[in-house]
């Protein structure tokens, strides 16, 4: 089913493509319908006076957000970022170079808001805001996954993701929203999660999963929903309730909680960790979604909040939740607020509460994909860089064959999966495949060097994206795994028959 005829088979180390001007021109994801727009407080369709409104919005952003102005002013066009974007590497379209992407908006900002652009537009590359420009924005600001890789390498830390978010916010404010993100945000507001899974359906799903778990382990492991007075509320991406391999990760969390002996619950009101408000750069929408989590925590009377595996969700949780929905003075201050499931699991492993049979993962030769938002926009644990160490520590505790990909493509230099930032939609499939090709090249290299067969991830979007695009690169769909899926396979529950006939084999494995 390799339908990626023009997919660049990239070699490793990554080649920098020659410029192919216009290669991705005109790519236009579906527009949000008026009813989707309305739910988010945006005009339904392009306003007649869109130009004035867009400029007003730009002026407002310059007043509201320091990054917007500093980043637009400070770029020296040094070119250091030009080869850092996976969409540029995968498409060769020069407008996918981070600085060129910023320039699409910077040129307009200069024209209307700076002395040089007002009086010498040609000289500084300033241009009028026209309908063509607006459509160009719509196209190329939906070819950025807001992954921040460019920001790592820019001498001033200029983060194209911030510019993309600003551009999307401007477009939303004049009635030109993207269907995928905006429709989903609407669903969260109505029902509580991206999927539109109502509480009844959610309960039924969880009950089925509990049965499966009991069949598999012989132990009753619970997946509680809306249980008042539980200690921990788990907020996880709704993909964990139905998609593969996400769901196996959810089972992993449940087993860890079970073994740790803590009381926990999911919430049907806040049944979503994802917060697409981030993708469209809307503080107000992001805040509204985040406040659902606060309300759920208060209603359920929990003491702690733990987040499941999701990249941008963890960014919003770790970096923004306190800002958007804090202060969380009603929670137990002894624990991080919020805490990542991997912080929790690693803590239990260190305490020695979990027992593993690592050989259960011996059929796998594994590598790990650092998700952009976890890597470059958040942290785990107390030390900077804990977001790299803790997942790897947990993996090493449950899996014998682990190999890192090339260091230029991991940790803070990680390459995006190609589907983040609101681009995980079928109408952008071509872009998603091309954007994934640099990551796939690095994966192919460890496959060749170390026989790696599988790649673990801690992000719902990465998991969905990879299971969709990996077949085009010669991997099975199920080559992408949840980290807690590995935990789930290896964990030995108290009282569980190990299933192996060799009695007496120490099921403890080496717990790191």
């Amino acid at each position: 089913m390799a339908d990626g005829d023009d997919l660049p088979r990239m070699d490793f180390p990554l080649d920098i493509p020659c410029l192919k001007a216009g290669a991705m021109e005109g790519l236009h994801p579906f527009l949000a319908a008026p009813e989707h727009q309305a739910k988010l407080g945006f005009p339904g369709e392009l306003l007649p006076d869109w130009k004035e409104r867009a400029l007003e919005k730009m002026a407002e952003l310059a007043e509201r957000n320091r990054a917007f102005q500093v980043y637009l002013d400070a770029c020296v066009k040094c070119g250091a970022c030009t080869d850092k974007c996976h969409y540029f590497l995968g498409t060769g379209d020069p407008k996918n170079m981070p600085v060129a992407r910023q320039d699409l908006l910077r040129s307009v900002y200069r024209r209307y808001f700076t002395f040089a652009g007002k009086y010498f537009p040609k000289l500084v590359g300033a241009r009028d805001l026209t309908e063509d420009v607006l459509h160009e924005w719509y196209s190329y600001y939906h070819q950025c996954s807001e992954c921040r890789r460019c920001s790592v390498f820019c001498p001033y830390g200029i983060d194209t993701a911030e510019i993309t978010m600003a551009a999307r916010e401007i477009m939303d404010s004049v009635g030109m929203g993207q269907k995928y993100s905006n429709e989903i945000i609407g669903k969260v507001k109505d029902i509580g999660n991206n999927l539109g899974l109502n509480p009844k359906a959610l309960r039924a799903t969880l009950e089925d999963l509990e049965e499966d778990l009991e069949d598999e382990t012989g132990i009753s492991v619970r997946l509680p929903l809306d249980e008042k007075g539980a200690d921990i509320m788990l907020i996880t991406p709704s993909a964990d309730f139905f998609a593969e391999p996400h769901i196996d990760g959810l089972l992993g969390y449940a087993k860890v909680f079970h073994e740790a002996g803590v009381s926990w619950t999911l919430s049907s009101y806040a049944s979503e960790a994802a917060n697409f408000g981030l993708f469209i750069g809307s503080y107000e929408n992001m805040r509204e979604i985040a406040l659902r989590i606060r309300k759920a925590a208060q209603d359920l009377g929990v003491k702690r909040i733990v987040f499941g595996e999701c990249g941008h969700a963890w960014r919003v949780a770790y970096s923004f939740l306190n800002t958007l929905a804090g202060p969380f003075d009603f929670l137990d201050q002894k624990y991080p607020i919020p805490q990542h499931i991997l912080e929790f699991t690693w803590g239990e492993i260190q305490k020695g509460t979990l027992r593993f049979d690592k050989s259960k993962n011996d059929h796998i030769r594994l590598t790990f994909h650092d998700s952009c938002n976890v890597a470059r926009a958040s942290r785990m644990g107390d030390e900077p860089g804990g977001q790299f160490e803790i997942p790897r520590n947990v993996i090493r505790a449950v899996c014998n064959n682990y190999f890192d990909m090339d260091r230029d493509t991991t940790h803070e230099s990680t390459l995006c999966c190609g589907g983040g930032g609101g681009l995980l939609t079928d109408d952008l499939m071509e872009l998603r495949k091309k954007g994934a090709s640099p990551r796939m090249a690095a994966l192919q290299q460890v496959s060749e060097d170390h026989g790696v067969t599988h790649m673990a991830a801690i992000c719902a979007i990465c998991k969905t994206q990879f299971s969709k695009v990996m077949p085009a690169f010669g991997y099975e769909m199920d080559s992408v795994l949840s980290v807690h899926q590995l935990v789930s396979s290896a964990i030995v529950l108290t009282g569980q028959e190990t299933g192996d006939d060799e009695e007496g084999a120490d099921p403890r494995g080496e717990t790191a």
Partner: protein, 240 residues
């Protein structure tokens, strides 16, 4: 007449530079960063952030990781520029400070380093397709301006030395609001004129990267959002 025009030019250029940059800096400082967006891994303490910023502005750490050629040319140019600037302090003080004297022998080499760095950067604007694509006329003009300043400076050092003592007297006079005679030597006038132009365009050009880098939220924020609540004033009003 000549001396008077140059005096006025310099007063005007200084005023534009100082007021223009101050206005920008005040603006950068006043506009809040609504969210915590340091590029992680980021320091978890204020001291750590100061160290990160120090490594960025002194060693160009991120640029080094990013592209060795741009780093080499850019860093050489900037460090050369600092030494040259320090060397120029002697024209503005009666007694030459000891640390300025110390920089004296390096100053001239630094001039060449500066020029070499600039030419390297400029060559890349022509030779590297990606950088050619993102370059505007103003990017070339800025390099031309800096090359001309460095070139005319070096010419005065090695080819046509002006009467340095009168230049110094003119500068010292400016500081005391007295107009002394400026030697009417063409290269000197070109050099001084271009420096004034540089000062004037500073606040309206990409030279704002110099103050801007200190205000970049992805570099200057502390990674402590779980420990401390960060709230912009306009966002606090939403909580009503």
């Amino acid at each position: 007449m000549l001396s008077a025009s140059f005096a006025i030019l310099f007063y005007a250029a200084t005023a534009i530079l100082v007021v223009g940059v101050a206005m920008k800096v005040v603006r950068y400082a006043r506009v809040p960063a609504p969210l915590k967006i340091p590029t992680t891994p980021a320091p978890v303490t204020r001291a750590g952030v100061i160290l990160r910023m120090f490594r960025e502005v002194v060693f160009f750490e991120s640029l080094y990781r990013s592209n060795k050629w741009i780093w080499l040319f850019g860093w050489t140019f900037h460090m050369g520029l600092w030494l040259v600037l320090i060397r120029h302090i002697r024209y503005f003080t009666y007694d030459v400070w000891w640390w300025v004297a110390l920089a004296q022998p390096w100053g001239t080499y630094a001039g060449f380093a500066m020029l070499a760095g600039l030419l390297g950067l400029w060559a890349r604007r022509f030779l590297v397709e990606r950088i050619r694509y993102i370059s505007n006329p103003s990017d070339h003009l800025m390099l031309a301006l800096l090359v001309a300043i460095a070139g005319s400076g070096l010419m005065m050092r090695f080819v046509a030395r002006p009467d340095i003592m009168s230049v110094k007297a003119f500068m010292l006079g400016l500081l005391r609001f007295r107009i002394e005679d400026l030697p009417a030597q063409p290269i000197l006038l070109v050099h001084l004129g271009l420096v004034a132009v540089l000062m004037i365009v500073f606040p309206i050009s990409k030279l704002l990267h110099a103050p801007g880098v200190f205000f970049s939220p992805s570099r200057n924020q502390i990674d402590n959002p779980r420990e401390r609540r960060h709230l912009a004033p306009w966002a606090a009003r939403l909580e009503g």
